[in-house]
């Protein structure tokens, strides 16, 4: 984005933008979310993962599928020879990869006796993932020339449905579900009342049903998506309002008075979601949503989803590293506390810079300032680099003071995988 590739330099529907969008939504957000689910679903349902060893094949399939898909889009944009078969190939690999993850998660959840709110959200998220992938695969084969006239109309006007199912259903509903449990765990809050979160989920699922089912029916009937998207927008706003009520309750009823960095920064993610909701509503009310859809999606992807994932990773990386490194000597030798693996004050600056850059970039997109936007995107890249550097330091136990750092029997963890 900083280099001016894709939106906003190119059109929102251009192949270059498709490269960018899928790199972010699959390469970053979906992969991070899949990893989070494999780690977290067993905790949610108190059952071991159905198949521990599906994770690596899934990662390989997703990565290969993404590369093929991106190359296909690059070919579509004229950057590569016109190897359009790459698109359906990528789609098949992605179906296999996401299929493995979805099967693993669903079979794990299914083995549980009772489901809590988070697990239900995850299941709806999984259904949305399947819808997203199915629509995406349809588009991919169509772009490669394998589609018939019947589905041409789906490609013509169905892209918003694919985006809503992906960003709204799969990523947002899953993130919401996981956040219920993570916030309760990290802030020592009582769980949100089951009936209350069920209403939130019901309205969220309804939003998706209206958008996807209604959208497909409207496309079939050639009646235009306007009314469907309006209703989906209304239900979407209601979902965010209900979720906001639940989150505020989690923060208010917390027992941990002093907020840790991860929950402070997560609040900026929630704020981004709120601002995106208001922005979307205002744009829709003034009839100018279409020209600003890019800015809206940008704020959802980078302010809300990326912001929340980065904030939570700050805690999760530290905790899992701590458990991995010091678990064997716990109670046998002096060891650091989890908080000593991170330097919150330093990380806070990078997070602050990240959110500021995202919000400025969104404003610049709304103002149509393409060149200045690239500067803000560069700032985002630098801040993200800073945050990643903090994670690397945590993995390497760099910030743990001697002599606690490596007591007898403790070895430095590997950077990318747990021993």
């Amino acid at each position: 984005m900083a280099a001016g590739f894709g939106f906003p330099s190119a059109d929102l529907a251009s192949p270059d933008t498709l490269v960018l969008v899928h790199m972010v939504s699959i390469g970053w957000l979906s992969t991070a979310m899949c990893g989070a689910l494999l780690q977290f679903v067993p905790v949610l349902v108190s059952r071991p993962l159905f198949a521990e060893n599906w994770a690596l094949p899934a990662l390989v399939l997703l990565t290969a599928g993404l590369i093929a898909l991106l190359c296909g889009f690059l070919a579509l944009g004229g950057h590569l020879p016109l190897w359009l078969w790459l698109l359906p190939l990528g789609a098949c690999l992605l179906i296999a990869g996401f299929g493995l993850i979805a099967a693993d998660v669903v079979l794990t959840v299914q083995s549980a006796k009772s489901l809590d709110a988070s697990a239900r959200f995850v299941l709806v998220g999984m259904a949305s993932l399947c819808v997203t992938v199915a629509l995406g695969a349809t588009f991919a084969s169509q772009l490669a020339g394998y589609g018939g006239a019947a589905i041409d109309s789906v490609l013509e006007s169905g892209v918003p449905l694919h985006a809503i199912a992906g960003l709204g259903g799969w990523l947002t509903l899953t993130a919401m579900g996981v956040s219920y449990r993570l916030l309760a765990m990290f802030m020592l809050s009582p769980d949100v009342d089951e009936r209350q979160s069920r209403v939130t989920l019901f309205v969220g699922a309804l939003t998706l049903c209206v958008a996807v089912v209604g959208g497909l029916v409207a496309i079939e009937a050639a009646s235009g998506l306007g009314a469907v998207l309006l209703w989906a927008g209304v239900f979407g706003l209601a979902t965010i309002a209900l979720y906001g009520r639940d989150v505020i309750e989690l923060y208010r009823k917390r027992k941990r008075r002093q907020l840790e960095l991860n929950t402070q920064m997560a609040a900026y993610g929630f704020l981004s979601l709120l601002v995106a909701a208001v922005l979307g509503a205002v744009l829709a009310a003034t009839g100018s949503f279409a020209p600003y859809a890019g800015a809206f999606a940008f704020l959802i992807a980078f302010g809300w989803l990326s912001g929340l994932v980065l904030a939570k990773l700050h805690k999760i990386v530290a905790f899992l590293t701590w458990l991995e490194a010091y678990g064997p000597v716990m109670g046998r030798a002096p060891m650091p506390r989890v908080q000593e693996l991170v330097v919150e004050a330093r990380a806070k600056k990078w997070f602050g810079a990240y959110f500021a850059a995202v919000w400025v970039a969104t404003a610049l997109l709304l103002a149509g300032e393409g060149t200045l936007f690239r500067v803000a995107a560069l700032a985002m890249a630098v801040a993200t680099g800073g945050i990643i550097h903090e994670f690397v330091r945590t993995r390497r136990l760099t910030d743990v003071a001697e002599p606690l750092r490596l007591p007898n029997g403790v070895t430095e963890p590997c950077l990318l995988h747990a021993r």
Binding site: K113, M185, L188, F319, G327, M330, G331, M335
Partner: protein, 167 residues
């Protein structure tokens, strides 16, 4: 139909007491081939492994309000071929250490329990009260050869855990 003894530990747990001695006393009374039908206010998962080691198969059934009925039946053959020397589960002594970790921030409860567990002599036990199921503690206990039994009190507010050091 297997002949079996019924044991209801729900009142014991409701009164805030440990059910182990009752379970073990019942086990000691079993005639060869006899089973044990247990009623508990939660699914006694940790007990399954212990009972499997002692040569019992189990069949569980959920009752109303999250309560469980578990039927333990003796298996025809000894369960494990390389058992740790049969650790009679029936002589779990009174806890040597008791901890109330309900007001500690995670992961302090886990650190405290493992620290206390290291103080136990062979076969001794500790008991701890927690406000959440310590899911990350169990693998650590397992690696160190400790056994444990735990569950929520009927009102769901407190998790009671008993840990026993390897003999």
């Amino acid at each position: 139909m297997t002949d079996c003894i019924d044991l209801d530990v729900r009142p014991i747990l409701r009164a805030g007491n440990e059910p182990f001695s009752a379970i073990m006393a019942a086990l000691a009374q079993l005639a060869p081939g006899q089973g044990l039908r247990l009623y508990a206010p939660f699914k006694p998962v940790p007990l399954f492994a212990v009972m499997a080691e002692k040569g019992f198969a189990y069949a569980e059934r959920e009752l109303d309000r999250g309560e469980w009925e578990v039927l333990f039946t003796p298996e025809a053959r000894p369960a494990s071929s390389a058992p740790p020397p049969a650790q009679p589960f029936d002589d779990w002594p009174e806890p040597k250490i008791t901890l109330d970790n309900r007001d500690l921030d995670p992961p302090e409860p886990m650190v405290k329990i493992l620290g206390a567990a290291e103080q136990l002599g062979p076969g001794e036990t500790l008991s701890a009260l927690l406000c959440r199921e310590p899911v990350f503690l169990f693998p650590q206990l397992e690696k160190r050869g400790f056994r444990w039994l735990g569950g929520f009190t009927p009102d769901g507010s407190t998790y009671e855990l008993t840990v026993r050091a390897p003999a």
